[in-house]
Symmetry: D5
Subunit: 126 residues, 10 copies
């Protein structure tokens, strides 16, 4: 498995698909570039999901998040895009992506997006 | 974009209007003037909302909050007014404004106001 | 407005009666006298309420709480009495009074009483 | 009132029986003896309840908890027994007893038991 | 009782089967081996359950968790397996096993699996 | 021993006068009256000392601190006066009195005064 | 005493000039204007000093710090200027002024300046 | 080794007597009896020392501290006595015993006693 | 002033060169690349110094730290290099650079390097 | 470089030997076996040192600490042995090894050993 940033997310079979259970992966090492100023942005990304038949492979998730290091992204868009990419890769029963971005201009911003396979999300995970 | 305090709130199109998701913006740098004593008041403002077609632009929100620096406002009224102004600007699906004001006379005061597009608010965000 | 302890609670018109919103006032400077031993008791009082047409005026609340400084009161009774007095003064839609009293004999005691205008309380505020 | 350990719990009339309100009493000074090894056990006991016509008198509760100092008790059994004894003494509308016991063999154990006068407990207090 | 790692979980009769109550056991001393790299993994395991007729004996739980010290296990699988083994041993009314695993490659992972005797789990314990 | 506020400090013989050792007594239950506004002031008092032949009796210290409840005192003066009274009562080898007073007008004030029997104080205790 | 911002610092006679003791005054309510961008800056100011014959009067200190609300000042210069003004007003034996300024551009800045009447400062206070 | 409370402290040879190094042992499970009221007292004991040729055996230290469970002791005396007993048992190069006792009557008390083989103690350990 | 990463550090004249005072600048937004694996590294950089005639300009420091975003550096070398570059740019009287790097392989690493104009460093700043 | 536990510590040349600077490496993932009971022990190891011509290579340090996973060691001896092995490997100017071991029998133990190339250690690092 190459250690290059990559938008490819790999998966492995859920070892316990008969049960609804939650997986939560958190990293404080997310960085991208502000599309307005071109300067680095930093934040924490927290992914929580109930897998269906596939789980997200951790190393590919690390490389996926790394791939934003040189990209210009807005907080709202990138949080939703990470959710979309993860849902497309592993088709979870439910998933939440939370981005907690560092203070800029005295303002601290969080964005929280949720997906539910069976329809509109009805509540937070965990 | 001028860096002058301003009551004008700018917006940008919600990149993901097909999904209910939450945005939370927090600043500990809110200051106004007590309308009774004329002395400075300080507090933290936390805005949480589910955007519809528009998101609040961060820099204009900073300038908007700055515009209270010289104004005499009561805690209860200013928290509701910030909510009204933000709702008028971006027409969110749901929004909450929370003001946490510094101790005065040994008393610490919080004010929390909520708006829901489809009717009376039924619960806290986040 | 005199700065003497006083059981009189003053109010002012709710600037936003069209909306249910919460006000929370906390002070760690409550002291009364133990009715059994005559010795000082200390605690924190937290008032949370949804105003109807009236809000509690902060300075009079401070003087009201000060008025217990020389009174002998039990934890359970004083928490309920503060709730009763505040409800009588401002007729809120909902209110909660929480007393957190200092350790005595190795035991720490909290008392939480709630009022709801439309009938029995169905849940905690905030 | 004697300051001897005692299994007798005293009560006093609830000053506000017309209202459902909560009383929470916490002590980090609970100690008993492990019935297997005979060695001292330590923990925190938290009692939360909605009184009906009677409240638990604090000093007698202190002496009651003290009475376990020389007794061999298991964590599960003692938490339930404290609940049973308190319910028998004051007939509350609802009550929860929570025991948080110190680490033994690298394991930390909590036990939480609840009582509701009107039937099976439907939720945690506080 | 031998102090050897063992997959055998022992139980004792629930002293209060007439009541639904919760037991929570937490240890920060869980270690296993990464099945990919062969290197040690570390984490915290938290078991919360409502016993039916049997409670899990603490010492055997310690030896059971110890038995993973030399085994190669994935985070998702081991959390579910601990839940399965504990359910098989004590047939609880409800149980939750939570694994909080240490940071690897900048990512911190939690896994939370739940069991309910009467059907699909409807909520978190505690 | 009467439970009335009293300026009288009682002592008992130091059980280990052959050794320099430190005693630290802290209370967050100090209250007096502001000599300017007449309103209550609150704070924490921390006494640290190396006893010579006498130790301060705890109950009399509690009654001594209680005696300030109705007195108008400035932060600087009361901290020094408590030090003077304690030094006069127990003639310690070294003593420090620290007053940490609650926020007033947005300002939080600490006062720390030290005494050393053998001359000017050369450093903080603890 | 007027409640207008003012660069005038008032003093009162030290009640205990025979003893070296420390006074520490902290406020998290300092705000000024960035001289480069014209935007508001926020920070915490902590003054610690050993008074000689004069103490700083608290209310005038509050009005003094308030006077920076509309001034453009650099972090380094304003911290030193507050020290100079306070030294000129009360001629302390030793004094330290510490400014802790809010994050700007991802950088958090503290400035600590010290004065000693008898020559160069040899160490931190407190 | 019997698991009975015992005033006997056992030792083992210091494995590294050629080097000055520190050992710190802390327990929050100390309890004794108040010699005035006969009621239980609780506290934390922290022993820090530089061993000479002997180290204190942990299990015997546990049994030693357990032996105070039924004894009436004053805070000052018991802290010094534990120091004396430990010094007599293991003849350390330096030792400090710190007792942090629970709040009684609103007052929290710490006692810290130190021993140095080569003469008067010159400073705190750790 | 361009907002491009740059190894050029700018300075401005120290407004108070007659006094030794400290400036401390901290950012948690440092990222570079591991020279062995090529993967991103993250950390916190804290610069503390006593300026002589020049102070470090904050924006250029931000751009300087940004310039490491694509560079492969070891923790030990980069901390020393930042110190060397800052000393060369502003010739401080004393300076300390502290790097606190994120956990890798279960190990968390800090590096602290100090410079003193008048010879070998004799102690930590702050 | 093999990923097997190993007592071999590798080094690399100090990039800045002309300067005294400190490196601090901390891991909470240390585990060994109790030589008395044969059961697992857990702890945190903190190594702080001033390198001379060699620095400790991080991966080999990880494998070195891993090598204790199956060994029976006492807290005092293992802390000193880690110090001895590290000193033998990299000949630092100064080094401190601190072991913070998990609670056993209610007692928490720390061991801190120090080395100084030029003679007896005179103080703690950091």
């Amino acid at each position: 498995m190459a250690t290059q940033p990559s938008k490819t997310l790999e998966t492995f079979p859920n070892p316990n698909p008969e049960r609804d259970y939650e997986i939560r992966i958190q990293t404080s090492e997310f960085t991208a570039v502000c599309p307005v100023t071109g300067q680095p942005d930093f934040g924490t990304i927290i992914v929580t999901y109930v897998p269906d038949t596939l789980c997200v492979e951790l190393k590919s998730l690390k490389l996926y998040l790394w791939s934003y290091r040189g990209e210009g992204v807005f907080h709202e868009a990138v949080t939703n895009r990470i959710l979309d990419d993860l849902v497309a890769a592993c088709h979870p029963r439910r998933m939440e992506v939370r981005g907690e971005f560092n203070v800029r201009g005295g303002l601290q911003t969080n964005v929280v997006a949720r997906y539910e396979a069976s329809g509109p999300s009805t509540g937070a995970l965990e």
